[in-house]
């Protein structure tokens, strides 16, 4: 024991001496984790698993006694797995369409824009237009003469979550497919490979880090989502986050709800470990210093292009249709009864929603900047550096992402409602909740992108006398910039649109657009909610357009810096 401790101490000492920048970075990040991740979770653990001062599983046993909650555990696993698979497949198809087909530029732009529509609207908005289309007496059902289709249950929830979360997979995989070296395509084809064989044995295997990371992200997002099942799950298909939310807000059973949520950590941990096992030993390096002149990617086999074309068209048409309902709803006097055109809902939004709009923007901007920086640093140290406790560090960083948002929200109130950490009612608590939850995408995008990049590039820089910090800022960052920006995009979008944790964190001083939309929904002001949603979507689109411009710029720079490094080598 003492031996091991001394050993660890020695290791730390070596780290401090060898790489002081890494050491101090780690210390600071550990402190931040301690405050904003472990403290709230620990306080919640105390609430859930300590009864009368003794550790006990009594709370968990009590909620697991009902077979309904066991069904909920099963439902959560089934839903998250199927959504993880379908979301990743759909994301991959869209990413291929954008990066590997001969689709004209504007077509690709439209596809990219469509993929972010579901992301940039709060989940309940699309759920509600989905019920209008496919619910009882739904417009689409009447159009096709389908009867006896029930949207409430597994299929409706699955459909809605797949449409909501495939853009995450798209973003991660698109970045990977873009940064892959086209020289491999040339090599394979010139060696006589068919396009199918190239696709199967080069493109897909090399994109495995992206596939695995996006599965992890989509699985996690679906596992923690409570809003979609709340609207579409019905009573026949319970899932854990929704049941936990119902326990906390419906039966005022905070302890039961908290212990139920901790059950969700088990599948999250398993997927995390599986991903490590799958990816751990293989090399996915395709960006090295030894590349020649940049060439274009080879196209896809014709049959695959046709399938991609059909899938993208159907999904895009459906997504556009869902959002057309919302757009139309925002301009009519009384939804479906008095369809005269009016601006009054927008007037209301700008008159009564101004504070919410400005608050949301301020919070999202601060969170995006802080979250991106943290995401880069954490993604980099976990991928490139070795240090004691690395696996725990990596999993710890994703803890808030894996827990249902409502539970994180409650944990934050409990942990930050006393001095010296009195944060309730402040902007900081909202920013922290967003940063330590949604920087996950940034971390995953960065580490997936680093998997592709040969460490030899960095080693070359080090051996030429640049320090670890200079190497990081001048070699690594330019190389991973496309991935960083796609993580940043997602972070910004989520900070603008997420609702789960913040439902418990908005205060009389800080309100958010999403809670205003939910409020309009519960007040049955469908048109008002639609107008709020459209305004939100336009703001996010604008912010996103700026970020996409940056990605394009950095993508050009990326290929330039690869060439430069290669040249120097």
């Amino acid at each position: 024991m003492a031996e091991g401790y001394r050993g660890m101490k020695k290791q730390r000492f070596v780290l401090l001496k060898k790489d002081p920048a890494l050491f101090s970075t780690l210390v600071i990040i550990w402190v931040l984790f301690g405050i904003f991740i472990f403290l709230p979770v620990f306080r919640l653990l105390l609430a859930a698993f300590v009864v009368d001062g003794k550790p006990s599983f009594a709370n968990l046993a009590a909620v697991m006694k009902t077979s309904y909650n066991i069904r909920a555990l099963y439902g959560s696993l089934l839903l998250a797995t199927t959504v993880g698979i379908s979301g990743t497949v759909l994301g991959y198809i869209f990413a291929l369409a954008v990066t590997r087909t001969t689709l004209p530029r504007w077509g690709k732009n439209i596809l990219s824009a469509i993929t972010i529509l579901p992301l940039i609207s709060p989940p309940f908005t699309s759920s509600i237009s989905l019920t209008l289309a496919l619910g009882p007496n739904g417009m689409l059902l009447q159009l096709f003469g389908i009867e006896n289709f029930t949207i409430y249950g597994f299929w409706g929830t699955w459909l809605s979550e797949t449409l909501t979360y495939f853009p995450i997979a798209f973003m991660v995989i698109e970045a990977i497919l873009n940064t892959m070296s086209a020289n491999l395509d040339d090599a394979a084809l010139s060696l006589g490979s068919t396009k199918w064989r190239l696709f199967r044995t080069v493109t897909v295997p090399l994109s495995l880090p992206g596939i695995a990371n996006s599965f992890l992200l989509v699985f996690g997002a679906s596992l923690a989502d409570f809003a979609t099942p709340l609207i579409l799950g019905g009573h026949s298909f319970p899932v854990l986050p929704t049941e936990a939310y119902l326990l906390i807000t419906g039966l005022f059973d905070l302890k039961g709800g908290a212990s139920l949520s901790f059950l969700l950590l088990v599948p999250a941990l398993i997927v995390f470990l599986m991903q490590r096992l799958v990816l751990g030993r293989k090399s996915f390096v395709s960006v090295t210093g030894k590349s020649g002149a940049r060439t274009v990617f080879s196209g896809l086999p014709v049959s695959l292009s046709v399938i991609i074309g059909i899938v993208c068209t159907i999904v895009s048409a459906f997504v556009i249709y869902l959002y057309a309902i919302i757009l139309w709803g925002s301009f009519v006097k009384v939804w479906s009864v008095n369809n005269t055109f009016t601006w009054e809902h927008y007037a209301y939004v700008f008159q009564h929603g101004k504070k919410a709009i400005l608050d949301t923007l301020a919070i999202a901007l601060v969170s995006t900047v802080l979250g991106s920086i943290l995401g880069i640093v954490i993604g980099y140290v976990t991928q490139r550096k070795t240090f004691p406790g690395k696996r725990f560090f990596e999993f710890g960083s994703l803890l808030n992402y894996a827990l249902p948002g409502t539970v994180v929200g409650i944990a934050y109130i409990i942990a930050f409602n006393q001095r010296p950490l009195l944060l309730t009612g402040t902007m900081t608590i909202l920013v922290a909740a967003y940063v330590f939850r949604y920087y996950a995408t940034g971390i995953r995008a960065v580490s997936a992108s680093l998997e592709q990049i040969d460490p030899a590039l960095e080693e070359a820089s080090l051996s030429l006398g640049a320090g670890s910090v200079r190497t990081f800022t001048h070699v690594t960052i330019p190389l991973i910039m496309p991935a960083v920006l796609s993580g940043t995009r997602y972070l910004f979008i989520h900070c603008m649109t997420a609702i789960s944790a913040t439902i418990f964190l908005v205060s009389v001083h800080w309100t958010l657009l999403t809670t205003r939309i939910l409020e309009s929904m519960t007040e049955l002001q469908f048109s008002q909610a639609s107008a709020f949603s459209i305004v939100l979507i336009l703001i996010v689109f604008a912010g996103d357009a700026i970020m996409r411009g940056l990605i394009k710029l950095s993508s050009m720079k990326f290929h330039q810096s690869v060439r430069e490094v290669a040249h120097h080598e």
Binding site: L246, L251, P420, R470, F472, S507, L524
Partner: protein, 344 residues
């Protein structure tokens, strides 16, 4: 140069912590001023609360900061914030939410100046909360559905068992909604416990969806996705007044009603302002404001004249159900509802 990454992370953490402490420290000074403002969690919908609080500010000069939350979210927050309450009052929401909060020690006692003018059944015996409006249950049915099926609006609980309503009812989920538990209280008062749950089991086959909020089913019924449902009158009238083809009706067997309340939070930082708000809530003024702005609660003060005929309760069979009994039975009924009705 060497320390760039270090400096970056340093700046980052300083930013986070500095903003944490500076904004955290600001709170008490704001809260210290007496009379100027009162902070409120409102369960009453935002559009109503805005009008009510505007009138209150006009009358007293006290500014109201509020966030709208559902009753479950509001209580969960009040319990979690107990050590350091963020608000001074809870406004609106059913009295059983207040009774549950009393058990958690969330509320302080205060008897408003004119509380004796409010009938005793509309306020807490110990002075923890005071009723600001009452809302009976009712049926809300889509006119097009009725015309298509040649039916009249339901006037009995047993009308809802008609096969014409198969897969056509939307009503609230007992785990999240006070409207749903009110429905169970009514049925138990009318039929007795066992018969009430047997009835709901049968009713379940006509139910399309149990919505999470009490008013959640109103829009689907208005747009024809569903046929009918059980609601508090305030939600039913609200959507009907928007112009949808809907009929509001009451069952002959009767309905219980919810008492919407208000109360002061234990440890309120703006106590004097909170007391002023409670005095105002128990006065005739609140009732008059609600009538004038067509906020569809029936005022708890019998001396306020109601003008909307839909709120005229002389033709409705109102059943009494005591708040203490509701509070006592709530968890038991909800669990039984989950076990017997939705899980069958």
């Amino acid at each position: 140069m060497k320390k760039k990454m270090f400096v970056m992370v340093c700046v980052l953490s300083c930013l986070v912590l500095a903003s944490a402490f500076s904004s955290g420290a600001k709170e008490p000074t704001v809260a210290g001023t007496v009379g100027g403002t009162v902070n409120v969690y409102s369960i009453m919908p935002e559009k109503y609360a805005t009008k009510v609080f505007e009138a209150f500010t006009a009358d007293t000069g006290i500014k109201v900061n509020f966030v709208r939350l559902s009753s479950g979210e509001a209580l969960a927050r009040l319990i979690a914030e107990k050590g350091n309450p963020q608000v001074d009052c809870l406004w609106g929401g059913p009295s059983d939410t207040y009774e549950a909060g009393v058990l958690e020690g969330v509320f302080a006692t205060y008897v408003p100046a004119e509380a004796d003018k409010v009938p005793a059944k509309y306020r807490s015996a110990q002075g923890y909360w005071t009723g600001i409006g009452i809302i009976p249950l009712c049926f809300l049915t889509n006119d097009d559905f009725l015309a298509k099926n040649g039916l009249k609006a339901p006037t009995s609980w047993y009308d809802l068992l008609d096969p014409a309503y198969r897969n056509g009812l939307q009503m609230a989920d007992a785990r999240t909604s006070g409207t749903a538990t009110e429905r169970i209280y009514t049925l138990v008062k009318i039929m007795g416990e066992d018969e009430a749950f047997a009835y709901q089991k049968k009713l379940n086959s006509n139910v399309q969806l149990y919505t999470k909020s009490g008013a959640g089913g109103a829009m689907p019924i208005a747009t024809g996705q569903a046929a009918s449902g059980v609601f508090y009158i305030v939600d039913a009238l609200d959507i009907q007044q928007q112009g949808y083809p809907l009929t509001v009706s009451y069952p002959v067997e009767g309905v219980t009603y919810g008492v919407e309340a208000a109360g002061i939070i234990n440890g309120a930082k703006n106590l004097e302002a909170a007391k002023t708000l409670m005095d105002w809530a128990a006065s005739k003024r609140l009732g008059e404001v609600m009538v004038a702005d067509s906020i569809n609660y029936i005022p708890t003060r019998p001396d306020v004249k109601v003008t909307n005929p839909a709120l005229d309760m002389t033709q409705v069979n109102l059943i009494e159900a005591e708040a203490e009994w509701k509070g006592e039975k709530r968890a038991e009924y909800v669990n039984r509802w989950v076990a017997e009705v939705i899980q069958q």
